[in-house]
């Protein structure tokens, strides 16, 4: 089995050979690792990695599968599954090209209107969550083509608050 997984904004190909019901060998880059595993309930996956046990806790979230062990939570997604489902979310790379809140929030102010020209880094919407205000910035130079929200709206991550059409700047493939 081949997986194409996304973690820390990197795509990592992972090859898996089953060796029975609760054991497999995984190849990650040059490394080959023998793994034993057992599942307890919905969230606990007991692994044996290179002979040492580690308890991992897993749950699926909007941002991918959350995997916790040793005090740290990792987010892992299956790039192939994302492609199949046509998810809007860009898997790899860190190009933020949308004006969307980092968390559920309330819009405090919209600082642009349709037709406005904006500069990269210019504040376009101010949102508030848990008594903290934060400003969302234009990701590139461009023109506001649509404003989707107004002050007082409750908004979620992924909601596009303002559509901005990118300004031409030569044929940069990025």
């Amino acid at each position: 089995m081949d997986y194409n997984l996304i973690i820390n904004d990197k795509n990592i190909p992972v090859n898996v050979d089953l060796e029975g019901e609760d054991r497999f060998v995984v190849s990650i880059g040059e490394k080959m690792i023998t793994v034993g595993f057992g599942r307890i309930g919905d969230h606990l996956l007991c692994l044996e990695v290179n002979g040492k046990k580690v308890n991992t806790y897993i749950a699926d979230t909007a941002e991918g599968r959350a995997i916790f062990f040793n005090g740290k939570t990792y987010l892992v997604s299956d790039a192939d599954a994302l492609n199949q489902s046509g998810s809007r979310r860009s898997g790899g790379g860190k190009t933020i090209d949308e004006v969307t809140p980092p968390m559920p929030a309330v819009v405090v102010a919209v600082k642009v209107k349709e037709g406005d020209a904006v500069k990269k880094g210019q504040g376009v919407v101010v949102v508030s969550a848990m008594k903290m205000e934060t400003t969302l910035f234009a990701p590139f130079d461009g023109t506001v083509t649509k404003v989707n929200v107004q002050a007082g709206n409750k908004v979620m991550p992924g909601d596009i608050l303002v559509d901005i059409e990118k300004q031409e700047e030569g044929a940069s493939p990025e």
Partner: protein, 495 residues
Amino acid sequence: MIKKILIANRGEIACRIMNTCKEMGIESVAVYSDVDQKALHVLMADYAYCIGTSEPSQSYLNIEKILDVAKQSGADAIHPGYGFLAENAAFAARCEEEDVIFIGPSSKVISELGDKTIARQIMIKGGVPVTPGMMQAESDPKIMAREADRIGYPVLIKAAAGGGGKGMRIVKHPEEIHAACAAASSEAASAFGNGAIYLEKYIEKPRHVEFQILADSHGNVIHLLERECSIQRRHQKIIEETPSPAVTPALREQMGNAAVAAAKASGYVNAGTVEFLLDSEGHFYFLEVNTRLQVEHPITEMVTGIDIVRRQIEIASGKSLSLKQEDIAGRGHAIECRVYAEDPEKDFFPSPGKIVFLKEPSGPGIRNDCGVYTDVEVPVDYDPIISKLIVHAENREKAILKMIKALSEYVILGVKTPVPFLMDVLKSEAFADGETYTDFIAKHFEKWSPGEGDIDTALIAFVAGELSVKGNHQFQSSSANDALSPWKTLGNWRL
């Protein structure tokens, strides 16, 4: 004696208060806003009343609704917790008028200590050392500039009402004073409804050391030792400990006496906290009195063995403190970490949402004052605190190790938490050395990033999760006889 207490709060502190109520055989009444219908404090209470929408002014800050519920439910006392109405003199005054016991000091004391300039005057009269600064709030920028010159730069601008770092500004140069005063005043006005500000000498490289006090209505006042709360981010405490690495027995006695003097000077009754700044030469200055149960009170409970909420209720019932100062002895070392729904990788921005899975650390010497459970939503509307993780061990070194272990086992999925950051702080040499000044985070963890971590194991867990979902794989008792056990099996021992 009090028989039924309305808890005018939510989250972990409401739950913690209810725990003590239940032990004392006191019924608890929860109030909640509509988004908190399934909140843990609502589940835990004996009675629960919805009092409005999520907007705090419509619910947790709505004095008249809360008093109506107190009457309707037959509660004879109200515990305000911390935050919300805890230091609202008008609320305490309304309770006094309505003959409902307010579990805290009198409205007069709250009002006087809540105004920092009045508080400073009281402390000066009571012989408590205060930082050089203005005796009265001001708004005229010219007067402020003159006062700053008199006190000497750097100066600290503070809001006369409120706390939590709001309205606070450090000003190092005279040319900045006008703009800073204007900004601080408008911030204070929007946070506390009161734009009054004043100036104090800014103490460089200070520690924030506070003393817990208990004062009954019969004139008995004691302190329950200190808490070191220097580790702050954006003027919010994140890690607290007791004893303070900087406080010697002699200094403890001096500061404790000053804290008791502060309580007596202000006519304080109930539990409170006297905050001091401690400079590197062992001089300390009165900062403010928090006229409420403090977020970090559990570390004091762990080292003194005293349930502070129980004492609050007893004092509010008119009971005499059965403790004398000589009965108070700290034992061991306690540390608290505040666990918020916040994203340490995104500048600690709040991260509300659904707790998809929660597994609290447990074990000897571990206490987790928690306000959430698996499947509950952390709403966007309030302070995003999930819990306070507290450990207690024989000494500081062992307490640090215990906290690192507890954090490493604290599973919170669905929202982001600062657990990886807290672990790195606790593992740092600077923390081990007790270099806990208020600039600790800025100095040692300004550019913190979580690091890659153990990516291989995370990928493996993902794959194992896929395989166990697809095959609906579950351990079976019978599979104990399979050759392929998930645990290392010594084959020739199998019988």
